[in-house]
Amino acid sequence: MKLLREILFPLIAVLAAFLVGAIIVLLIHDDPIETYKLLIGSALSWPDGIGYTLFYATPLIFTGLAVAVAFRCGLLNIGAEGQLYVAAFAAAWVGITFGGVEGRSIANLSAWLLVPLACFAAMASGAVWGAVPGVLKAKFGSHEVINTIMMNFIALALVSYFTQYHYKAQGDPILQTVPISASAHIARLGKFIPGLPERIPLNIAFFLALLACVLVYIFLWRTKWGYEIRATGANPAAAEYGGISTGRQIVLAMAVSGALAGLVGVNEVLGYRYRYYDSFSSGVGYGFTGIAVALLGRNHPVGVVFAALFFGALKRGGLFVDIFTEHVSKDLVEVLKALVILFVAAELYFRGRLGRFGLMRRAKI
């Protein structure tokens, strides 16, 4: 019954969002059914549709998990965006500096060392970028939402500075670093899966994302630290009274959250572009979409995977809507994203309403 409820409400939110989206499509004189057919259908074709959907879902699993872990501690991490930028740059920096890239390297490590080192750099830098607002909250009580927003902008500016002034190839008109060493590349899944061409950038990081889900589950529900994080989120005063140092848990949760967001850098740099590309997560970036993923996935790793697949499919489908409908652009996807968040946000209220009629009991998230 509880599980049913957990699945039912997100589904209602999605349906409501699609309904409002359909009205908007009608208003701009297009056919909503045709549009949605394109949106969903093109995401399910083999190999391109599914390949790209899984590829787009990968970073969203990471950021969804990141937001979810912070949320379990009662924190809103709006800063996944900044954390993943810093991390992606760090991954590229390792791939350049320790990979034997001509003129820019101090070492030439083999793939067995270089790839784990780059992954570690991504996680560590993301963790640091996430921990700072955590420390500020724990020590000075300043609101993590404001600080994470500020640090998003700081991250973008700093990384763009380093790219522009220190790591760009001479004369390159695009704001991107030089390529990382080939031994820092991680394999694309097309190598192992028959029928999946290697041009589709779906890579090992997808499995890393699934592994991260399992680890986050174990961490939150099977370890003492995870328990203390959840206790802090559920009721900080009671947790403190029960002997939990809530300040430490806040810093820990934000660091873990930042590390998870940082793993986006692995998918982006080691598995896809093989360099740091400035503002790769522009528009409604992975970090912000991660909020939608976590909310729709009920801040649970399993839910996060499904929500990430859903939004990944929308991103893939959006490209086709852009091309094959007369008036609708891929921005419909952002609108749907926003609507889903709005409906999920309003959900508590409707739960209360239904509860009054004895239909639903108010469940703890």
Binding site: I24, I28, H29, D30, L76, I78, L136, K139, F140, S142, H143, V145, I146, N147, I149, M150, M151, F153, I154, A157, L158, S160, Y161, Q164, Y165, G283, V284, F288, I291, A292, L295, H327, V328, S329, K330, D331, L332, V333, E334, V335, K337, A338, L339, I341, L342, V344, A345, A346, L348, Y349
Partner: protein, 290 residues
């Protein structure tokens, strides 16, 4: 260095500060009433887009500005309903509105003007280049007066600091909070409109480029007070104006100037330069005692 410190710099500082100030004063009404408003970015975007489109069709920037205000209020109403009536998470609702307003203008301009993100150019004589600046700075004393010298201002602050007491004194917490949030929509939308039919002559995709968040930072830096907030906006405006002027002149990377407002805000928020204390009941939905 001397050539940088000129009349031009002052002028561009004021121009840059104007949209920030309008949005920040809007945020002030909402946050002093106890509702977090990180939707300022989206509210500015809806103002910018509506102003550009309506001015394009009616050839009157004043109708454009009025329409922008109406659209801002409408979008702010979504935030108000969610946060006040539905008791939703205020930050989540604000984020959703920001995302919505990245999508909707692009979707609509794609359908109407066959270009996702941009609206047609508006001729120079149909722009409002000075009026929004005057409105913005005139609103500072007005806001100060409203906040500290009128019954509405007293109620607004009371509702943000101690809603229980305000309620007990017969103030409708819900109504005052609605007023605060709707006002923020109107003001932020004027700020957005200034970007599209004042500083430039068309709407472009995501043209606020984070100004809503800088406005929020200025509001915090100004400790949620009108005059200090204006000074913060001018300071942040100066930083941006300097960054623009210095491009190609001085060999300091612009990125370092760009991050000044953000770093300063974090420092102030941590209490290193005098404590910046948020209204006490900010972010907490009010549940009337039964």
């Amino acid at each position: 260095m001397n050539e940088l410190l000129n009349i031009g710099l002052i002028y561009s500082t004021v121009r840059t500060a104007t949209p920030l100030l309008l949005a920040a004063l809007g945020g002030l009404y909402s946050e002093r009433a106890g509702v977090i408003n990180i939707a300022l970015e989206g509210l500015m975007l809806v103002g910018a887009f509506t102003a550009a489109v309506v001015t394009h069709y009616t050839h009157s920037p004043w109708i454009g500005l009025t329409a922008a205000i109406a659209a801002g209020v409408l979008i702010a109403a979504i935030h108000a309903v969610l946060c006040i009536s539905f008791k939703a998470q205020q930050v989540v609702s604000g984020m959703a509105i920001n995302i919505l307003l990245i999508g909707v203008p692009a979707l609509l301009s794609g359908a109407f003007f066959e270009s996702t993100g941009a609206t047609p150019q508006i001729p120079l004589h149909e722009l409002l280049q000075y009026a929004p600046v005057v409105i913005a700075f005139a609103l500072v004393p007005v806001t100060w007066y409203v906040l500290y010298r009128t019954p509405f201002g007293l109620r607004l602050r009371a509702v943000g600091e101690n809603p229980e007491a305000a309620d007990a004194a017969g103030v409708s917490v819900t109504r005052i909070r609605y007023a605060g949030v709707l006002l923020s929509g109107a003001l932020a939308a004027i700020g957005g409109a200034y970007l599209s039919i004042g500083q430039s002559s068309l709407f472009t995709r995501n043209m606020t480029a984070g100004r809503g968040f800088i406005a929020l930072a200025a509001l915090i830096f100004g400790k949620w007070r009108p005059v200090q907030t204006m000074l913060a906006c001018l300071l942040f405006g100066l930083a941006e104006a300097l960054a623009t002027q210095m491009q190609g002149v001085v060999r300091v990377p612009v990125q370092f100037i760009q991050i000044i407002p953000y770093v300063l805000t974090m420092i102030v928020l941590a209490g290193f330069i005098g404590l910046s204390r948020a209204p006490r009941a900010i972010g907490i939905p009010y549940q009337k005692e039964k």
